[in-house]
């Protein structure tokens, strides 16, 4: 596999009513932002499970954004308030176990904040590029290295192969 310039992989979990619509507005306004972020739509920021974030890291994400409606603007009244408490705790937990704070970011973006969406994506992308690839997490694929190095090699071979496919 020819070594290309590394591009961060970022996932955004966004709520259907505010941030997804805000992203739509960024589109209709033809605002430009980096193409690294892929959106996964859920109904409400209250419905995003922290395990989704761990999964995303496991699947090679270098950064994650979680975004929903502003407090008091939740389409479901209170989903984002529950989310806020949850994310505050989860963020602190990840920080304590040594995951850099900027790997997981949060925002409130309303349906009318297309500009903010573009700005946030640009900022997150910039932050993640500054942090570099999330090797500390991705390297955990290379388990058993201590006793059985052969597994690590085999495992990495497969991962390299996957990247090739992604790059078309």
């Amino acid at each position: 596999m020819s070594k290309q310039k590394w591009e961060p992989k970022i996932v955004a979990f966004v709520c259907n009513w505010c941030t997804y619509a805000g992203a739509d507005l960024a589109g209709t306004s033809r605002l430009k932002y980096p193409a690294n972020t892929k959106i996964i739509r859920v109904m409400c920021s209250g419905g995003i499970d922290p395990v989704f974030i761990l999964k995303a890291f496991e699947r090679g994400a270098d950064g994650v954004l979680v975004s929903g409606c502003h407090p008091n603007d939740c389409h479901y009244n209170a989903g984002n308030f529950h989310a806020r408490r949850r994310w505050d705790l989860f963020h602190k937990l990840l920080d304590f176990v040594g995951i850099e704070k900027d790997r997981l970011q949060f925002s409130w973006i309303s349906a009318s904040e297309g500009k903010k969406f573009a700005d946030v994506i640009t900022k997150v992308t910039k932050d993640i590029i500054a942090l570099g690839p999330f090797k500390t997490y991705q390297d955990m694929n290379a388990e058993f290295t201590t006793v059985f190095p052969e597994f690590a090699e085999a495992g990495n071979k497969e991962i390299a192969y996957e990247e090739e496919m992604t790059n078309g």
Partner: protein
């Protein structure tokens, strides 16, 4: 095996030099640490203490890892491609293995070669060299003598150490593999006196025999439905601590683990029979639905089924499961009660 045992003497310093060489050659050297058999990076780490109690875990995971991939797969539009895992065995030397651990691989060997030869296990096992060390102490959980072993058992060791004095060990070469291993170091060895070291072995205080394994075997056969089993599980919390620290428990689970939407691998992971969903069927039915049935299974598997199938008790009497049990369940006590 018709190998004839040889009795040698090695000084502690020379033994450590030998160890240094093993490490220098890039082999893995394991020695009992505080909680587990640790990989020795520096010989100063080594404590050859025959009076230490068994470590919290055995070295089982070096021959039967807690999780290992057994194949890789890749889905394409219409089929699935399988890719083998390439296992290259690496020499592993265990120094100072407890007599209650030394035989564990021999016991496990039956299971991994019964209907299907487990290449992963066999390859690693082939590269294992076990240097046993006589054991000079025991606590209330030890019961090696009840399962046909003893603190001075050489069974399973390739080489066996008996401390003669502060800085000398008698070294017994038990197997061909052991001889092959020690040959390059013959300069360290002097001839030993078997009678003298036998005297040391005999002087060791050994745990009292708590039960007769033959009687237990028999009782288990007749008492599957015995009301004694009921309530045994009341306090058990259904973790697998006992199975995972056991040197001979070997249940495993096969799990497909996806890397991505199209690729992944199949993993062989440890499993434990005390987990509530261990025998849960796809239908939702679980034949061992309550803890007492699970505990009955554990005892039967160890002291009856395995014996019936392979002629060996699936237990080395190390007492690790009891020592570590968060609710202090003592297998010795339960098995001792397996009588009318």
């Amino acid at each position: 095996m018709s190998f004839k045992m040889e009795e040698k003497i090695i000084s502690k310093d020379d033994l450590l030099k030998l160890c240094g060489d093993v490490i220098a050659k890039g082999h893995t050297l394991l020695a009992p640490g505080i909680a587990e058999y640790e990989q020795v990076k520096d010989v100063s780490q080594i404590r050859l203490d025959s009076s230490a109690l068994p470590t919290k875990t055995s070295y089982k995971s070096y021959v039967f890892p807690k999780a290992e991939p057994i194949l890789y797969y890749k889905r394409s539009k219409s089929d699935v491609q399988l890719i083998d895992v390439d296992v290259n065995g690496k020499k592993i030397v265990v120094l100072g293995a407890k007599p209650c651990d030394t035989n564990s691989i021999n016991i496990l060997k039956h299971l991994f070669n019964w209907d299907y030869e487990d290449e992963f296990f066999n390859l690693r096992q082939k590269h294992f060299v076990i240097i046993g060390l006589m054991c000079s102490s025991f606590d209330e959980y030890c019961f090696c003598t009840s399962v046909g072993s003893s603190p001075v058992s050489e069974e399973g060791s390739d080489l066996f150490l008996i401390p003669i004095n502060e800085d000398k060990f008698a070294l017994r070469i038990i197997t061909e593999k052991g001889k092959e291993f020690i040959e390059p170091y013959s300069e360290f060895l002097k001839d030993g006196d078997e009678a003298k070291s036998n005297a040391v072995l005999e002087s060791i205080k050994k745990p009292e025999v708590a039960f007769d394994s033959k009687q237990v075997h028999e009782w288990l056969g007749d008492n599957f439905e015995n009301p004694k089993w009921e309530g045994i599980g009341n306090v058990c919390l259904s973790c697998a601590q006992c199975a995972f620290v056991c040197p001979v428990c070997h249940c495993f689970d096969l799990v497909d683990e996806d890397y991505s939407y199209s690729e992944g691998r199949r993993m062989k992971n440890w499993d434990g029979c005390q987990f509530g969903h261990f025998t849960l069927h796809a239908s939702g039915h679980n034949p061992r639905d309550i803890q007492s049935k699970r505990y009955r299974q554990r005892v039967n598997h160890k002291f009856r089924y395995y014996v019936d199938k392979f002629g060996e008790i699936l237990c080395t009497g190390c007492g690790r499961c009891s020592r570590g049990c968060p609710v202090s369940i003592d297998i010795k006590e339960i098995v001792s009660n397996c009588k009318d």
